[in-house]
């Protein structure tokens, strides 16, 4: 190496990941109007720590929570409107989702034997604490409902059998009240972090996850119920897919440069696959609802689309946390705007020079 090739700048000033900071597509209304980022960092290292949550545990937990949450509402309504196959499937998948989600949540802990510590306090400031207190009663209600569903036909028509069925209906309604919260609180779980792509999407993620949950629940309803019973499931699934697709579009547009993590790597693959599955499932549900096999296939596609979205959002967040440009560039922009708003030439408050008293 010759002297001429020695770096003549600070090494960290070269910490621009050309792949990570692609030129933006024009005319899409970015919030962050930054030039192709010239930013400084410490040897290009990440500034925040990426989540240590396990993959696939956490994305699967998100998917199962959404599936169980929306299925519980479908099941309760199916019980009230005499749709036995939709009711049975919804009740069973609600308990399966709650139990499976709990298993994944515990397996995700780095000290699984202490999972009950989740319930030693209730903290509204911690979405994971609130989520534990949502999941626990939901799992209890869903389990009771599924047990009644299983025992109901096996008991006498009157007396104890009728009591069990009525108790099952009541706990099914209770599960349906809690279920939607289980489906959307996970959006707060993700967005209440310092991960830029998640945090800045805190207005979009709840809608995205609710849509994803509706697609999953509707999809499973199409798989599990007869053609006679499956119309509500098809409607919910199609609506969920539409909401999910539209919200994903709006989210990536509003995120501006932070959306680049959705446009590369595994997150891009997952989100593309998710969109394909959702479109296919929705079209199939509209056209093929009255054919049992077509309805079931559409349901599988809707569920796959829902799950792939969760995996894609998870991957995008990891990539965002590992990219120092995602921290430095928007925060610099924020400082610049604040300076403009206050007074030209004013130093940002974190560096304001305050003379000591008496000096």
């Amino acid at each position: 190496m010759t002297q001429d090739s020695n770096p003549t700048e600070m090494p960290q000033r070269r910490g621009v990941d050309r792949d990570a900071v692609k030129p933006r597509r024009g005319g899409r209304g970015e919030q962050l109007q930054v030039p192709e980022a010239e930013f400084r960092s410490y040897y290009g290292r990440p500034i925040i720590k990426a989540p240590v949550w396990k993959n696939p545990d956490v994305p699967l937990y998100l998917f199962l929570g959404g599936l169980a949450g929306s299925s519980s509402v479908l099941a309760a309504m199916a019980a009230a409107t005499d749709r036995p196959t939709l009711r049975r499937g919804g009740r069973y998948v609600a308990v399966a989702g709650a139990m499976g989600g709990t298993v994944f949540l515990i397996h995700d802990l780095h000290r699984p034997s202490r999972f009950l510590h989740m319930l030693r306090v209730f903290k509204p400031t911690s979405p994971l604490s609130v989520g534990s207190w949502i999941l626990s009663p939901f799992a209890a209600f869903a389990t009771a409902t599924a047990a009644a569903e299983f025992l109901g036909p096996r008991l006498s028509e009157r007396g104890s059998g009728r009591f069990v069925r009525r108790a099952g209906d009541a706990s099914g309604v209770a599960a349906a009240v809690v279920g939607p919260a289980l489906a959307t609180y996970t959006a707060v779980l993700f967005s209440n972090t310092a991960v830029p792509t998640w945090h800045e999407a805190h207005r979009h993620l709840p809608v995205l996850f609710a849509g994803s949950a509706a697609a999953a629940g509707g999809g499973f309803g199409l798989v599990a119920s007869s053609v006679r019973d499956n119309e509500p499931a098809a409607r919910l699934g199609v609506l969920g897919a539409a909401v999910e697709l539209a919200t994903e579009q709006k989210m990536t547009r509003d995120l501006g440069m932070l959306a680049d993590v959705y446009e590369k790597g595994r997150a891009k693959t997952l989100m593309t696959a998710s969109k394909a599955c959702l479109v296919a499932g929705a079209v199939g549900a509209v056209l093929g609802r009255k054919r049992r096999w077509a309805a079931a296939l559409s349901g599988v596609a809707l569920m796959a689309g829902s799950a792939l979205t969760r995996f894609g959002v998870f991957d995008a967040g990891i990539a965002s946390a590992n990219d120092p440009a995602h921290i430095v560039v928007p925060q610099r922009e924020r400082i610049r705007r604040r300076e403009e708003a206050v007074q030209p030439g004013t130093t940002p408050p974190d560096r304001r020079y305050v003379p000591a008293a008496g000096s």
Binding site: H110, E231, R334
Partner: protein
């Protein structure tokens, strides 16, 4: 925390904004000690890493298993072979070699416009026509190994021999947990393992932590992490055990240049303001305080810094904001969409044909 419902109603600064006494907000009575902290003055840091060693020794922090290359675990980042803060690194000394062509230092980076020199107050190297050592290293296979070429970045970030064409300014800074006024890790911890001490610091109770890892992405500074060997989250305790016995934290005790100063936070802030004024008077215009202002995004830091360049050069976020600032809105959005999901699922049954 005690006034969490007030916080959600917007009548309290429990989640965001200036908070004069975080310990009182956490429920300690009026008799609690004053808030303590660190003032790390990087302008006198000599990069000796005594703080890193003292912290490891006193707190029995294990090997951090620094990754990078397997070649003596060298990162190629000047003398920084620690990398960053983490579960087993509670003090981290950053080394930045600000190398620029002779006479090209700009005003934006604190340079003197007339001479183009790196500003005073710091040793500026240059002038000596030292030979480049790398020209003498034979090609691989010739019996001698070019160690720099084995580094992950081909030695581009490695130490450089200053020659007569370049000015070098060497920045060193000892980073640590900021013990924020509004600590994202603490508020997000679902078990209550993280708590606010009577000194206003933030500490993990290892016997409570279940390793959920939620604190890790909640920190806007990337401080706390889960340790692979025991699964628990760990970070600087500001030597909680030593504070209880009236001792200063190990790193501050070990620092030979008083770059790390420990004390009551209000006194440290006054000292930092005086030091900044002194440096500005001496023409070190690039000096600035970081984490000093209680109006910043985390309500001010318990551990704050005097820096000689932009925060991101040291690996610090330029404008951190605690994630819980937006939490009330997030809960509102999630609740509304949950209702929407329930209504949609019910409405799907409207006039259904069977």
């Amino acid at each position: 925390m005690t006034n969490v419902f007030d916080a959600f109603a917007g009548t309290d600064n429990a989640l965001y904004g200036p908070l004069p006494d975080p310990a009182a907000d956490a429920g300690f009575d009026a008799g609690h000690p004053k808030r303590v902290g660190f003032f790390t003055d990087t302008s006198v840091c000599i990069g000796c890493k005594a703080c890193e060693v003292a912290c490891k020794e006193w707190n029995l922090v294990p090997d951090d298993g620094t990754d990078a290359s397997d070649l003596y675990r060298l990162t190629g980042m000047s003398y920084d072979n620690t990398g960053d803060l983490g579960a087993s690194t509670w003090r981290h000394v950053a080394f930045i070699e600000d190398v620029r062509p002779h006479g090209s230092a700009t005003k934006a980076h604190g340079g003197d416009v007339t001479t183009g020199r790196i500003p005073s107050g710091l040793p500026a190297l240059g002038g000596g026509a030292l030979p480049s050592t790398r020209e003498t290293v034979p090609a691989p296979g010739g019996g001698t190994v070019d160690l720099l070429s084995l580094l992950p970045d081909d030695g581009a970030h490695g130490q450089q021999t200053p020659d007569d064409e370049r000015d070098v300014r060497w920045l060193m800074a000892s980073d640590v947990c900021k013990h924020c006024t509004h600590a994202g890790c603490l508020d997000n911890c679902p078990t209550g393992a993280l708590f606010r001490t009577e000194f206003g610091t933030v500490v993990v109770q290892d016997d409570i932590c279940n390793g959920c890892g939620y604190c890790v992405p909640s920190c806007p500074y990337g401080v706390i992490d889960v340790r692979g060997s025991d699964g628990g989250a760990h970070k600087c305790t500001l030597c909680y055990d030593r504070l209880g016995s009236g001792l200063e934290p190990a790193c501050a005790k070990a620092c030979p240049t008083q770059s790390i100063q420990f004390g009551d936070l209000d006194e440290l802030q006054a000292a930092a303001d005086a030091r900044l004024a002194e440096l500005h008077d001496r023409g070190v215009s690039e000096a600035r305080l970081y984490g000093r202002d209680e109006d910043d995004g985390v309500g001010g830091d318990g551990a704050f810094f005097l820096l000689l360049d932009e925060p991101e050069v040291y690996g610090l976020p330029p404008d951190p904001i605690v994630t819980t600032r937006d939490l009330p809105e997030m809960w509102r959005n999630a609740a509304l969409t949950a209702v929407g999901l329930g209504v949609a699922a019910v409405a799907a049954f409207w006039r259904g044909r069977r």
